[in-house]
Symmetry: C2
Subunit: 204 residues, 2 copies
DNA sequence: TCGCCGCTATAACATAGTTATCACAGCGTC
DNA sequence: GACGCTGTGATAACTATGTTATAGCGGCGA
């Protein structure tokens, strides 16, 4: 957080945390969910976890390290939700189920979603490792897309690129829904449904 | 910026600014474009404009007021680009031209786009007036959509809701492109093209 | 038992947004 | 023409932030 040019490197996100570390993460997540990104300060996180601010630095290398953990945790949850959807004989239905799971994740974790996609914490930019994780999650979707392609339900094309298109469409709708842009008259869940049918018919 | 609960009210964005005011806005815009949102500080804006920080408060009510101006300016440019596209006899082509103009705006003004859609400046949330402007811009798109519907090129549906769907799709693609999520191998301009054809075929 | 190492809390530092203070210019009034 | 008011703007002070330095404390090995 000091200088943008210095190379960033936070403790590996996957490592097992001690109780203070997990308390800090939980406190940060709760703060973010309850009071928004502006409330996510090092002192408040430490206070909520009942420890001193130094723990944030010794364990996470600073505020951005905590945010990185939240970022990664978000993508892990998203990926877990995606993989938990068993493949059926109907690839298109599977794709739609994935889409619904995506929206559910975003609606249920709006602040986490903001961390992942809105750069809502100033100065935090994901590390290459975190970027890689996001790419992996996209790969999960690409697998579903490819299955639908081989089944003939979707026109043949680059699966990754097509997955990016599907992802972008879903992301665009929930993103605008969460930001409450435009008139409140818009029925966003309905728009989301139409987006998914648009995808399967438009890419057939 | 002091408290989130207090009602916000910035000077009307449409009023003619004096030279100091416009200097401040230009300085803020330049800072945002050159050094990113983190560099957008009151002191730096004032320094770049060659005046004291107080001017930011007397003219814009604080940092958020400056950001609000940028937000509004962004939507005005976007709306201007939209209205500058003359309606032809081919409503679908017009819609695609609008889509291309949308992406061009986003790519040409990435930081402005971030202010408008990413909440990249901490604590700033658009005022109801700014929200209204965003809704108006959506209405411009809805007009194009409705024209395509009456021409039979798009299936009949609520124009505003459909415009929201179109907007969300375009926004989703450029948003992911600008954030550089996923593998760099993705050809985002191509994805955008495919998104637009997906829209017109999927909503036909 | 002594001494060193690591961890944690406290306090200090730089910078942020914001607000208070104060000097000064412009103008009306006597 | 001089005095005082008003209002603008520059300076400096205030609170809060991320971060870093300092110092105390305990635990472990010798």
């Amino acid at each position: 957080m000091t200088s943008a040019t210095a190379e960033r490197h936070y403790p590996a996100p996957m490592v097992q945390l001690d109780s203070v570390g997990s308390d800090l993460l939980k406190a940060a997540s709760d703060l973010l969910a309850s009071d928004g990104p502006a409330a996510l300060t090092v002192r408040r996180i430490a206070n909520a976890a009942g420890v001193s601010t130094m723990n944030v630095y010794s364990r996470f290398g600073g505020k951005d390290g905590v945010v990185e953990h939240l970022f990664v945790e978000g993508f892990r949850r998203l990926a877990a939700g995606m993989t938990s959807i068993a493949a059926t004989s109907d690839p298109v239905a599977d794709l739609m189920t994935c889409g619904l799971a995506y929206r559910r994740f975003a609606i249920d974790n709006p602040t986490l979603y903001s961390v992942m996609f809105d750069r809502v914490v100033p100065d935090y930019v994901p590390t290459p490792e975190a970027h890689l994780l996001a790419g992996t999650t996209l790969g999960l979707l690409a697998d579903r897309v490819e299955r639908a392609m081989t089944a003939g339900a979707l026109g043949s094309n680059d699966p990754l690129s097509t997955a990016a298109l599907v992802w972008a469409t879903c992301h665009g709708v929930v993103s605008l829904e969460l930001k409450e842009v435009g008139p409140t008259a818009i029925d966003w869940p309905d728009v989301y449904d139409r987006a998914m049918t648009m995808i399967v018919t438009g890419l057939a």
